[in-house]
C-alpha cells in the first residue's frame, strides 16, 4: 500500500513571477529561504508522487462550467499558460499519475463526493509558482486537485476537512508502495480586484496559524467560516491549506515562515505537517 509522506503549504503570489528580479533583495531573500526550506522538507519526505491542491485562476474553467473540485487524472498536464510564467517556469508539460488520479476519483465517488474530472489540466501559477521556487524535480508526477477558491459560493470548511481526510484515505488504500505527499497552495490573506486590494490581514493570518497549530477541526472550521467573509477575497485559498491540514490528520503543523509581503500583495505563509527537518 502507499503511504502518506507529509503535507506542505505555500503561497503562490503571481507578482513573484512578474517582478522577481525587481523585488527588494532582502524580501527576495526571505521568500527564497522559505521556499527553499519547504522544498528541502518535501524532498526529505522522499515522495514518489505529489498531490497539489490549488485554485484555478480562470485558466481551465469559467462561470459557464465551474466545478467546486476537479481532479486531474491524466498522464500529463499542461504547464502554466500565463505569459508572466513563461520566463520563470517555461514548462510545456508536467507529468501526471493516471493510476492514483483514477484511484482518488473512485474513492471520492465511493464516498459520496462528486468531483469533476479532467484528463488534462492547465496548471497555472497557483500550482507552478511553488513548484518553481521549491525546486521540485520536473519528473515528479503530480495529481492536481483544482478547488474553486475564486467564485462564490465555495466549498464549506466542513467539506474541505472531509476532502483532506478522503485524500488521506485514498493514499493509504492505493495498492502500490508509493510515498505520496500533499501540497496546498495559496493564501494567506490577500485582496485582489476589490476595494481592499493590497490589504494584508495579519490578524486573520496569525489566527489561522494558531488554529492550525491547535489542531481542533471544529474550531478551525468555525473560525474560517466566520472570518472569511470579513477579510480579503484571496484568503479563500486557505481552503487548500485546510485540505492539506486534514490530509495530515489535523496534526503536526509546523510554521516554516510567515510575513506580510506588500511587495507581492499577500500574507506570505509557508508550512508543513508531519515533516522532519532534513539533515
Amino acid at each position: 500500500m502507499a503511504s502518506f509522506a507529509g503535507a506542505f503549504a505555500a503561497c503562490h503570489p503571481p507578482l513573484m513571477a512578474r517582478n522577481w528580479e525587481s523585488l527588494p533583495q532582502d524580501h527576495r531573500a526571505r521568500l527564497t529561504m522559505a521556499f527553499d526550506e519547504l522544498g528541502q522538507r518535501l524532498r526529505a519526505s522522499r515522495p514518489d508522487l505529489l498531490v497539489v491542491i490549488s485554485p484555478d485562476h480562470w485558466v481551465n474553467f469559467f462561470i459557464s462550467n465551474l466545478p467546486a473540485v476537479c481532479i486531474g487524472i491524466g498522464a500529463e498536464h499542461d504547464g502554466p499558460p500565463e505569459p508572466f510564467m513563461q520566463k520563470v517556469y517555461p514548462r510545456e508539460r508536467l507529468p501526471g499519475h493516471e493510476a492514483f488520479g483514477r484511484h482518488l476519483l473512485e474513492r471520492a465517488l465511493d464516498s459520496d463526493f462528486e468531483p469533476a474530472l479532467s484528463h488534462r489540466l492547465k496548471l497555472d501559477h497557483g500550482t507552478c509558482i511553488p513548484l518553481w521556487r521549491m525546486g521540485i524535480e520536473s519528473t515528479l508526477p503530480i495529481v492536481p486537485i483544482l478547488v474553486n477558491d475564486l467564485e462564490e459560493p465555495m466549498l464549506s470548511m466542513r467539506r474541505c476537512l472531509a476532502w483532506g481526510r478522503l485524500i488521506r484515505h485514498a493514499i493509504e488504500s492505493f495498492p502500490s508502495p508509493l510515498r505520496i505527499a500533499v501540497l496546498g497552495t495559496g493564501g494567506l490573506s490577500h485582496s485582489v480586484g476589490e476595494a481592499t486590494m493590497g490589504w494584508i490581514d495579519e490578524d486573520f493570518d496569525h489566527k489561522c496559524i494558531r488554529h492550525f497549530e491547535d489542531g481542533d477541526d471544529e474550531r478551525l472550521a468555525q473560525f474560517l467560516t466566520d472570518a472569511l467573509p470579513r477579510t480579503g477575497n484571496g484568503a479563500h485559498e486557505i481552503r487548500d491549506w485546510v485540505i492539506a491540514h486534514a490530509a495530515a490528520g489535523s496534526r503536526g503543523f509546523e510554521l516554516i515562515d510567515y510575513f506580510p509581503s506588500p511587495e507581492t500583495l499577500v500574507g506570505a505563509g509557508f508550512a508543513c505537517w508531519n515533516s522532519s527537518k532534513p539533515n
Binding site: 507578482l15 480562470w58 462561470i63 480586484g193 481592499t196 470579513r230
Partner: protein, 101 residues
C-alpha cells in the same frame, strides 16, 4: 450581480490572442461580439472601475485592467476609492502598499 457577457469578454481576452489583438486595434468592434449593455459598454470605454467592479469576478477585473494597460497603482487607487461592500463587512481600510506593476 454577475454580468455573464462582460465576464465572458474578460475571460476570452485572457485566452484568445486574436481577440486581444482585435480589442487593442478596435475596441468597439471586439465588444460588439458580446451582448454588452449600453451602460456597461460606456463604462468599458471610460475605464470606469466603479461601474465594472460589481459585475465581474474580482480576478477577471484585475486581469482586464492589466491588459488595458492601467498601472497597478492606479487600478488600486480606483478600487480604494470605492466604499467596501457593507454586505461583506470589510470595514478595515486598505493600506497603501508598495505595489509593483
Amino acid at each position: 450581480m454577475t454580468d455573464y457577457w462582460l465576464s465572458k469578454l474578460f475571460f476570452d481576452l485572457q485566452h484568445d490572442e486574436k481577440l486581444a489583438a482585435d480589442f487593442r486595434q478596435d475596441m468597439a468592434s471586439a465588444i460588439d461580439r458580446y451582448e454588452i449593455a449600453p451602460a456597461v459598454r460606456k463604462a468599458l470605454f471610460a475605464d470606469d472601475v466603479a461601474v465594472l467592479a460589481p459585475l465581474v469576478n474580482a480576478y477577471l477585473l484585475r486581469f482586464y485592467f492589466q491588459i488595458r494597460g492601467m498601472p497597478q497603482e492606479e487600478f488600486m487607487a480606483r478600487l480604494h476609492a470605492l466604499k467596501p461592500n457593507p454586505v461583506q463587512s470589510k470595514t478595515v481600510e486598505a493600506k497603501p502598499v508598495n505595489a509593483n506593476g
